[in-house]
Symmetry: C2
Subunit: 558 residues, 2 copies
């Protein structure tokens, strides 16, 4: 819950209202709403991946609450690029209203359409390119090429009579990108000269000094590692990192290896990327992974997902020896990816597991097999200096990243009171070149868990954490409703304990005694009796086993 | 002498001719001539400092030969900034024709005017600022702010009907410069969008990967070193590095020390910089160095020249214990400067000398007390990508720097045949967006030695090297012109030998005998007899003393 919640005033005419619903104070579920003249424009609609303290959660969505009742006013959703943290929540938004138009580049729309297909939604789309303008309701949109770890990313300049807002999406400024598609600093310069009133800028690497290394510095390292690998090679990366997969394909081809793609999203995304011409697959290099078994070990590269230690992804299952490709001595596993904050434990667990199996694990910590897709501090300074924005809203980052980014803006001369450190739900009004915080909405986390959306609460997650960490004990007692006498039980079942259930035999008489005592005092209410059971076994487990499991007492009248 | 010399054709109308006279294949004496429609525009006119193999030389000038007979056609000299390697030869050019107008920024012109005053020349000047345009003859000039290790540096875009040439001068792209004056990438973007036909670009750091560190990273280091110094502090830097001197003044003020400026050029330049508002001298901090002796050792900072090991500069004299400020134990000497290639020996000699005297020497090699003023490879890539020049001429660099710079241009998509690796005297014609080498002039080095300009030749320098390294021996013999008999001598004088002159007593009879033998053979010619003397003593010195000095035999008839 945000620090201070207060309602914004009604939006004045001639004012642009900007409300980030996600991505501030977190890396993920990026989504920002722009409002002008009664119309809403949404930029990005992504998911956040759960951390370890959110067990069982598949995805976390932005809280759509502020726009749920105004979906008819949404003129479009602009998607800056095809990463999950920018497009992953689109299906959940379109489930509320399917005909909201989606605007994005060719690859971005292809990726979101494939995702929507799984949800049986066919969206209205408008494909745009860098340099193009589109008028959508009161919003004049100009799209600007930016360079990121997925092809075809766009920044968007949003012009209304209230001024110009420029949202970078995710970006970096690789000056020798593999596809030659630079972040268009000429356009930034032109927009800056004309005047940018509000700059919404990627903060992910704002606290990383200097400059992100060139993407092309990775290729030779991959080539060397793959060239020297004695047996099988397994490369894990993001399933949307077309350029990294390209580098792996090229390195494999150079060393006479074939490549098997593993993981549903990897297969889907690379098929799309190849169809659209973003991925150039060397003739005959791909092989079905089932057929790959027949190849000699030194003739195969497996390209898989799971670089973030996601438990259900191929790599984690390999590390747990729970996948038909069983890594072993002589095999080389390359984690060609960044380590998203929060995933450290999971990733190191995977590295440990693979190492124990005998595989050599090459990762960012011991070789240059990944560069970030986000602009580091040095690059952001270039942006600020070229744009000279009047107001800055750092987005896409944990709090420390937002602060670091604001500091960079200030270093280049943006006044401190024009750099806004916002939270999700911060309402910012832009008018006459001045951006001001006018409200703070109370937004929550919306959890997707299996087929449910928004039904799991934070309390549920607390239970899950307790269950996961401490296990649970259920105690079933059947009592005579008239006398309160125990007819059956207590039967005790426990999960998450090393001990045999028989350890609980010692507490059963205590429970029976406590219930008898309660009955003698005239207690008949099953809820009250449940509490007696809970207290009795709780105290005992605590003292005897030194644990605080979840306790589920069930007192049934018969 | 250039590899291949060939004359350019007569200049066609509608064509811009570009001829660098200095700065290619060397770090220094930058000068480029632009010709259009019969008029010449000169950009920069600097000196090269002599290396160790050019003993006794004060300065090396560009060879003015190609423009000497056309000085009336020179419409102006544009000076990009106030460093010696860009303005140092102006007095020598104006001595040929004093009314050639000089164009530059306020600080640049102030520095060149001070220099000209010493030569008793009062120039015609035109002060310009970034963003301004000037039409000079057929050349439309636009001045663009660039960031360098001296304030007020400018790049110049030169437009003629033949196209646009952009000369950067020296520059880097510090994104947080101390004076807030950035290299104007917005202007670069605008020029690039309009089309830059020929890009003349600083190559000094083209082979340095990454990005030059921020100038403001130096301040805290200077502050720390000065704060911790137990006794006197002596800082040596370039006498034009206003920002570095500013940092030293600030650090001294922070630690209650006063500052004495040492060296004529340091005093002159800082007076100019303060008068023009580029240097902000804390109240009462400066002190005459003679009065500084009365201060406690821990209350003084000496700011001196000589960071390149120049033998006559204050620092070298201190290192040789040949200056009234005698550094000793507890004193701290900071070399807050780069090490210009070629000066290594001299600089390390100074460091050794100071260390032997007991001083602690802090320099680039052991602390971050200097950052370069030139764009490294990463910065140059930004330039190329923003400008997208049609043709590139790397300037200001040794051959390896020019090659590295051309490679960067090619990495960003400039075709290899549009990146010209030139030499001094390479004649390049620009027309219809295509730059071609059309000639190669034969240019030399012009040495300034005391009051002579261009009189010292390379042969003289060879002599000087021999003298310096091996010393010399003069042998005087007076013979009877009729008989060839030795009347007086041989008298032998030597310099540069450890040995006493009496060591030569052993060879005197041999010389006399050789002359007698020659006389008996009827040799009377004094030149021939001189050669006899040279050979005799040369062979003896060679065998006995293992040296090859310069030998000056003088046979006089009486």
């Amino acid at each position: 819950m945000p620090s201070t919640v207060f309602d914004p005033p009604a939006l004045e005419s001639g004012t642009l209202r900007v409300t980030p619903l996600g991505g501030l104070g977190e890396i993920g579920r990026n989504m920002t709403v722009f409002e002008y003249g009664g119309k809403l424009l949404v930029v990005d609609c992504g998911v956040l991946f759960p951390e370890e303290h959110q067990p069982g959660v598949d995805l976390i969505l932005p809280d759509f609450e502020p726009i749920k009742h105004r979906l008819d006013d949404v003129v479009a959703v602009v998607l800056t690029h095809g990463h999950e943290d920018h497009i992953g929540a689109v299906p959940y938004l379109l489930k509320l209203k399917a005909d909201i138009p989606l605007i994005g580049s060719g690859l971005t729309l292809a990726l979101v359409e494939a995702k929507l297909k799984e949800h049986r939604i066919k969206p209205y789309t408008l494909t745009v390119k860098e340099g193009e303008h589109e008028q959508v309701g009161p919003f004049d949109l100009e799209f600007v090429a930016v360079n990121h770890s997925i092809p075809d990313a766009l920044a968007v300049a949003i012009t209304t009579p209230a001024g110009v807002a420029l949202a970078t999406g995710d970006f970096k400024m690789d000056q020798l990108p593999l596809d030659g598609r630079l972040t268009d600093l000429r356009a930034f310069a032109r927009l800056g000269e004309a005047g940018v009133d509000l700059f919404l800028v990627d903060s992910t690497n704002a606290d990383v000094p200097g400059f992100t290394a060139l993407e092309r510095s990775i290729g030779p390292v991959l080539d060397q590692v793959i060239g020297k690998a004695p047996r099988r090679v397994i490369v894990a990366s993001f399933s949307s990192h077309v350029h990294r997969v390209q580098q792996v394909l090229d390195a494999a081809a150079a060393h006479g290896r074939r490549v098997a793609l593993l993981g549903r999203s990897m297969l889907r995304n690379m098929t799309i990327a190849e169809d659209l011409g973003y991925l150039h697959v060397p003739e005959g290099i791909l092989i079905d992974y089932k057929k790959a078994r027949d190849l000699p070990d030194d003739k195969i590269v497996y390209m898989s997902t799971g670089s973030q230690g996601e438990p259900m992804a191929v790599l984690s299952r390999m590390a747990n020896n729970d996948h038909e490709i069983e890594p072993g001595p002589g095999d080389t596993v390359i984690l060609a990816s960044s380590l998203i904050p929060g995933n450290e434990n999971a990733v190191y667990r995977v590295i440990d597991g693979l190492t124990k199996l005998g595989a050599t694990v090459v990762h960012k910590g011991n070789a240059k097999v990944h560069v970030s897709g986000h602009a580091a501090a040095g690059e952001l300074l270039y942006c600020y200096n070229i744009l000279k924005p009047k107001n800055v809203l750092p987005v896409h980052g944990e709090y420390r990243h937002l602060i670091a980014n604001a500091k960079l803006a200030q270093d280049t001369g943006v006044p401190a009171d024009r750099t806004i450190i916002g939270e999700n739900g911060t309402v910012i009004d832009l008018r006459d070149g001045l951006a001001r915080v006018v409200g703070q909405l109370d937004l929550g986390f919306v959890y997707v868990d299996g087929s449910t959306v928004g039904e799991i609460t934070d309390a549920d997650l607390k239970d899950r954490r307790t269950l996961g960490e401490e296990g649970f004990i259920s105690v079933i007692v059947v009592i005579d409703s008239a006398t309160g006498r125990v007819i059956t039980g207590p039967e005790i079942h426990a999960r998450g304990f090393a001990e045999d259930d028989r350890v609980f035999d010692a507490v059963k008489p205590k429970i029976a005694a406590a219930l008898a005592e309660a009955a003698q005092s005239g207690v008949r209410d099953t809820h009250a009796l449940s509490q007696v059971v809970r207290r009795t076994i709780g105290r005992w487990v605590n003292q005897s086993l030194r644990r605080r499991p979840m306790i589920i007492p069930l007192v049934i009248e018969a």
